[in-house]
């Protein structure tokens, strides 16, 4: 702490609750990282950052924030892509990084109980050591936290077969308005005792309370997987193969799409040749399970479908190293595309059969606005990340016309039965577009919900919903 004479009076109260060392004020060497996340080009300064270490401190913080009418902005790993963890209205950033214990891995009942600050990959590896599996696998798994995953209902490539974060959240402890600590759900596969409260908090972006403990369902770790990369001569064909694979009764654990410009961006970024970068698009397909013969049979079915789409010359990984090569390719897509120039990423999602219309439509819209666009993502889920690149556009056009182009993309998405965010959330940057997806009545009822749970408006105000 420094510069005591200019501090608001409540800073002293903060110190009494969490101790001085748990407070980061402007000027502190750690302060800067809390002003940003991984959303493009945003920076917002809170009045203070606090790093409490238990739920009791958080209960006291909530009471303080309510008394002082201070925004309280929960923050996990700071990897968000919609500005959800930024103090857009000042106040206090509540970093949950010190609540990072794995409390229990219950091998009999297939549940894990953790604090919100646990890094997702740490959680995955801890349960895999016991032969268990936590499938949600966001790209940022090495640095994002499970609390942040719950705030944004994180997805990733395994969602097609295994679902997203919400499908694993069975119990939550939450500090509510008034500082009450509530327990919703638990280690129960079935529960209709009261409303489905855990699900109300999943995807709520910290706007309804502060999650302090999480119980997640696990499944048995599948023993084997088969991975292949299939090249296509057109985006339409790649997209059209997706529902055909599913219709044959095969449920891949990953069905990812990358278009040629994305492959070329990876090639440039990594200064190496990338397989199939001369083709219009590729699908990365993976199946998993406990029976190798069953997986071989599924790969055969997939190969048959691919042949129908002139993609017979696919690359089937024969070794773990080749599987890693394929996944490295996929995982480097985001960084490669973002390294080209200023960009804006949109997280469109549609029913998977509408993918060709979405991808071609997005290209058409962008070309009309003079934007370059690169698409990749989770084809099986119909969840495509569209990266709009500034390229040669003037700053003025970029600033003023980009929102128009994005609105057009979202109107297209919604007209195809989709919505404006599949896994990145609304946060700060997508709020203005929400009325494209939801009617005034639909937004109104969510606002009433917010007010009922957060009457003083301290929990991450200015996020998730329009004002």
């Amino acid at each position: 702490m420094s510069d005591v004479q200019h501090q608001p009076l409540w800073i002293a109260d903060l110190a009494r609750i969490v101790g001085e060392r748990a407070i980061v004020l402007p000027g502190h060497e750690d302060f800067e990282k809390y002003t940003q996340d991984e959303t493009e080009n945003l920076r917002f300064c809170p009045q203070a950052v606090i790093r409490p270490e238990n739920a009791i401190q958080i209960q006291q913080l909530v009471r303080l924030a309510e008394r002082e009418h201070l925004p309280l902005v929960p923050r996990g790993g700071g990897t968000g892509l919609s500005g959800g963890a930024l103090a857009t209205r000042g106040g206090i950033v509540l970093s949950l990084e010190r609540l990072n214990r794995i409390l229990e891995i219950d091998e009999q009942n297939f549940f894990v109980t953790v604090e919100p600050g646990v890094i997702t990959q740490t959680l995955q590896e801890a349960v895999e050591e016991k032969g268990l599996f936590y499938p949600p696998d966001p790209a940022s798994r090495g640095s994002c936290t499970i609390g942040g995953n719950i705030a944004e209902n994180a997805g990733g490539p395994r969602a097609l077969k295994y679902g997203v974060t919400k499908d694993y959240v069975y119990g939550l402890k939450v500090v509510l308005s008034g500082g009450e600590l509530a327990t919703f759900g638990g280690k129960r596969l079935k529960d209709v005792s009261g409303y489905n409260m855990p699900q109300l908090f999943v995807g709520s972006e910290g706007t309804l309370g502060v999650v302090t403990e999480i119980t997640l369902k696990l499944i048995a770790l599948p023993r084997y997987r088969r991975t292949l990369l299939a090249p296509f001569d057109s985006i339409e064909r790649a997209a059209a193969a997706v529902p055909d694979i599913m219709a044959r009764g095969v449920l891949p654990c990953a069905l990812e799409f990358l278009e040629q410009d994305c492959l070329k961006a990876i090639e440039a970024h990594r200064s190496m040749h990338v397989r199939f970068s001369d083709r219009a698009a590729v699908l990365l397909i993976e199946v998993d399970g406990n029976h190798e013969t069953a997986l071989d049979a599924e790969i055969e079915i997939i190969a048959e479908v691919l042949e129908n789409f002139s993609a017979a010359d696919c690359f089937i990984a024969e070794t773990t190293a080749q599987q890693t090569e394929i996944w490295d390719l996929r995982r480097s897509a985001g960084e490669a595309v973002k390294s080209i120039c200023a960009y804006k990423e949109e997280d469109t999602v549609v029913p998977r059969s509408r993918l060709p219309e979405l991808v071609l439509g997005v290209h058409e819209i962008c070309s009309r606005w003079g934007l370059r666009v690169i698409c990749y993502g989770h084809a099986g889920d119909g969840n495509i990340h569209c990266n709009l690149l500034k390229s040669g556009l003037s700053d003025e056009k970029w600033e003023h016309e980009l929102p128009e182009a994005i609105s057009e993309i979202f109107r297209l998405t919604v007209s195809l039965g989709g919505t404006i965010s599949g896994e990145h959330g609304i946060g700060h940057v997508q709020r203005r577009y929400l009325p494209i997806a939801l009617s005034p009545a639909e937004i109104g009822v969510e606002q009433r919900l917010k007010t009922a749970l957060d009457p003083l408006g301290i929990f991450n105000p200015g996020k998730a919903l329009p004002d």
Copy 2:
């Protein structure tokens, strides 16, 4: 309509909205069935029953109910087990039986869109004809409706592998307070655009609005299944085998438990010999999938586990007829037990490793109160239906002491990490016990939620939550 001179004035308004033929008043030959459901021994008369045929009529009905401060009680197939569809405070029973169309089976995207009055089995069969699968399978599937399943978050025996109703609900149209028709979610596997509203309505027992259209996720229909019945020499051993099977990486699609008294009740009810009725308990175990060799391997693993629990002499169905025999046994459990005498069914759920403690504890409690109890249910989910039988108890003891015994059972359940309803709901009859499972703060936040969405208190008042 009859007896016009004694009718409230709003009956004429009802008639203007839905037409006279869609109104059932006391005295009408159909009226009686709407005063009951399948909960033991309840009867409540509404002032009127209406059978609208579309969402527009329901919007008008909600406005009328709000204007007249009339309870509006949504009703599906009337198969509920907690009195959720009964007009405990008078008002209007809103039967959704005429909203019974299957609107779309989307074979490309694996979704089905239906009206709430569709019978669950009708829905299952319609999608199975297309090679698709809607797994939730409540015992009452032949007469319950999908709308009722959503109200109670229905489960059934396949939940262990495939989840419960909530896991399939991706989109809802709901008439809200004010008569607004809102659309939440849709045919999207990922969606974080606003709060997770569909999940708020699942399990809410009609207390937040009236669902008028439902979009459910489907999966590919598994091609093969293997079914077996395993006899055990003690309840503890049967219950203890359950987590061991799961720990071996096998995820059965059903793992059901019946104790000896239940087998004997079936024997008496069906006047026929029942397999293994001389043993302390049986487990019904089923695995399914697309690869017969994989299923055979799983059956082998299960047989190994059973051997460890001295249950090697299991009966493995070799034909479809034998599978049917096993399932007929399981499906007749409820009716057989209920035909013995006056009873009260409790829907306990715990983490599955706590099953032995639950079942033995329930027996101990019941024996202390002089009650007979028969337990059966979904062992894999830890969801056991405990049927308390009046047997030789006096009416007075039955009436006054039963709630005490039930409270004890629920306190035990909660102490084991469980809760008071897994799939039957709180409805009317379990409200008094909810404080055993939830704290005042937890109930309070749910009440605030209810008030935010239903400020005039017309949607199924007196259900789901204490007043």
